[in-house]
């Protein structure tokens, strides 16, 4: 039992936190701009590398240097929106999807160009995990990731329900035309959507990079699970996306647990298929997700 918690549940929550933070942005962008942002994983990569570079110059804990990665990711997101997505807004959204597919490649080749294509670690050396109650083990990083994600989730909840900007974002996501009738500045809402989505993506990118290592494909490899999380939580429901991310993370990890026999239920090498099947099943049978998100 304790093995299940230490080796499956905690890693599931950790990777789930990464998915959750990435999926928030995907869900908000889907809700407000109405397209699936294929470059969101690579935005995470950019944010991760931003912090990695900062760590080379400033000898601080990577998490303290998060703002550097956030700034880089926010700048990148605002730039691609301005130059690549905005000119396509009047067209069917699938064109923006194609554009974002191209932006994913642009981000990745920039990462390879500036930071080489190999693996790079934030801090070398292995730290022993912390032990609680003699048997519960958790690494310091995993604890930090899970706690920070929970804090972000709570802050996001208050932002979306209490602040003017958060409510305006939900309003635009709900009924963009009515939002325009109410005189809301839609472009400003769009800008803030990118700011928040990119900042959280950078955070997720750093978490993922610290958990394993930074490499140019880091974000793209997480994209599928984040799409699944966004769909699971209901499109346009950032809080749903957080729940969706955690559920997908836990589902992926625990699907490899020895549930029925001594063999893992699903071979670990097929872990990433779990997210896909959850996503497709949802899209077919409950496209509004768990929390009644919007439908295309």
């Amino acid at each position: 039992m304790i093995d299940f918690i230490n080796l499956y549940l905690v890693p599931g929550l950790t990777i789930g936190s990464v998915y959750a933070l990435g999926a928030v942005g995907i869900s908000m962008i889907f809700g407000i701009l109405r397209f699936a942002h294929f470059a969101h994983g690579d935005l995470m990569t950019i944010g991760g590398y931003g912090v990695l570079t900062a760590v080379w110059f400033i000898p601080l804990h990577p998490l303290l240097l998060l703002p550097v990665g956030m700034a880089l990711a926010i700048g990148a997101a605002l730039a691609v929106d301005e130059f690549f997505y905005k000119p396509l807004r009047k067209l069917p959204t699938i064109y923006t999807v194609i554009a974002s597919f191209g932006v994913a490649l642009i981000f990745r080749s920039l990462a390879q160009l500036f930071w080489s294509s190999g693996n790079q670690v934030f801090v070398s050396g292995v730290r022993p995990p912390m032990v609680f109650f003699d048997t519960f083990r958790i690494s310091e990083l995993h604890l930090q990731v899970i706690i920070l994600t929970l804090i972000i989730a709570v802050a996001l909840h208050f932002f979306l329900t209490r602040s003017k900007l958060g409510r305006a974002m939900r309003a635009v996501s709900d009924e963009p035309e009515l939002a325009a009738v109410a005189g809301l500045d839609t472009e400003r809402v769009v800008r803030w959507t990118w700011v928040i989505g990119a900042a959280l993506a950078a955070t997720a990118g750093v978490f993922a990079g610290m958990d394993t290592s930074m490499h140019p494909n880091l974000g793209w490899n997480l994209l599928l699970a984040m799409f699944a999380a966004a769909v699971l939580g209901g499109i346009g429901k950032p809080m749903g996306a957080i729940a969706g991310g955690l559920i997908i993370g836990i589902a992926e990890e625990t699907a490899t647990f020895t549930w029925l026999s001594d063999e893992p239920l699903i071979s670990p090498s097929y872990k990433s298929a779990v997210a896909f099947f959850i996503m497709v099943a949802l899209l077919l049978f409950r496209p509004q997700g768990l929390f009644k998100g919007r439908l295309l």
Partner: protein, 314 residues
């Protein structure tokens, strides 16, 4: 010497360009005619490549088969297996709306990749399959074989082109375009939209499988890391957008144009100092990414636009 070297370089560019043209025609069936977004092109390409390799290689303990059948059997089998894979996928996913299908297709590509890497009994895993035969491999070798292969690839391009062109002008193709341009009114007119989409997806996947087979017999060796799947998928998208989606000639012209640009930049960058060569491939990728943005914004109808103008901007 320089000149023959250049000539055979051109031959190799044209062979690869032909294979891309087949892929581009396949995507044109799915996206250009059917409006189906597929980000998993490389997956179906790989299915075709492995199928043909397994069907035509000599018996081996390392992977399934081989069955040592003649190459045409390999090509046909590649189309069938890729088509059936596409059918399974379409059965599940084709009802999904545009963006959702796009998201799902990323997953499909990933799962196909996982199967190829993990199921060693089938594909020899990451070690790959060697000794894939070339047609008439016993008769001609070396550069002359390349010429022969060039002819074969472009025969396939021609065959696929004729097929696609027939499809496009047929009543079937017209219905398909009607669905693409206005799904609701096509549905209201009593068309079985999902059935048409399923057929489209399967035909496209089968053609992608053929392209995969052609590349397997060209390179004679296959492994999961031999191609960068995302790059292939992406290049094909850029080719179709630049060529003119919805137009079969445009698909071929776009494939050649982009592949020429891609190859020409390779020549240029191969003269760079060694420490720059690896980087230069990233610069090329970056430039293709930017090229796509340009095409999407300023050049959406492509080099050879579809004749009947689209009525889809809303």
């Amino acid at each position: 010497m320089e000149l023959t070297g250049l000539f055979f370089y051109l031959v190799s560019v044209l062979i690869a360009g032909g294979i891309y043209a087949v892929l581009c025609l396949a995507l044109n069936v799915q996206w250009g005619m059917g409006g189906l977004f597929n980000a998993g092109i490389a997956g179906f390409f790989a299915v075709g490549a492995y199928t043909s390799a397994i069907v035509t290689t000599a018996v081996s303990t390392k992977h399934l088969g081989g069955f040592e059948l003649p190459i045409p059997f390999g090509l046909v089998a590649a189309m069938i297996v890729a088509g059936v894979t596409g059918w399974v996928v379409a059965k599940i996913c084709v009802r999904l709306k545009s963006d959702y299908l796009a998201m799902a297709s990323v997953g499909i590509a990933e799962i196909l990749r996982l199967v190829i890497v993990n199921e060693s009994w089938l594909t020899n895993g990451s070690l790959g399959i060697a000794g894939v035969p070339r047609p008439f491999g016993d008769l001609v070798q070396g550069r002359e074989a390349d010429l022969l292969y060039l002819a074969m690839v472009w025969l396939c391009v021609l065959a696929v082109y004729i097929l696609c062109q027939r499809l496009y002008v047929s009543p079937w193709g017209r219905t398909l375009r009607a669905i693409r341009d206005n799904e609701d009114s096509a549905r209201a007119a009593g068309k079985d939209v999902d059935w048409f989409r399923l057929q489209t997806f399967v035909i496209g996947c089968a053609i992608m499988g053929l392209a995969g087979a052609l590349s397997a017999h060209y390179f004679k060796f296959l492994s999961p890391s031999a191609t960068e799947p995302l790059l292939v998928t992406f290049l094909v998208w850029v080719m179709l957008m630049a060529g003119g989606s919805g137009n079969n000639k445009g698909a071929i012209v776009g494939a050649l144009a982009i592949w020429f640009i891609w190859s020409a930049t390779e020549i240029i960058t191969s003269r760079l100092p060694p420490e720059w060569i690896t980087r230069s491939s990233y610069i090329r990728m970056l430039l293709v990414g930017l090229l796509l943005q340009f095409v999407l914004q300023k050049f959406r109808s492509g080099l050879i636009p579809e004749k009947s103008p689209k009525i889809r901007s809303d």
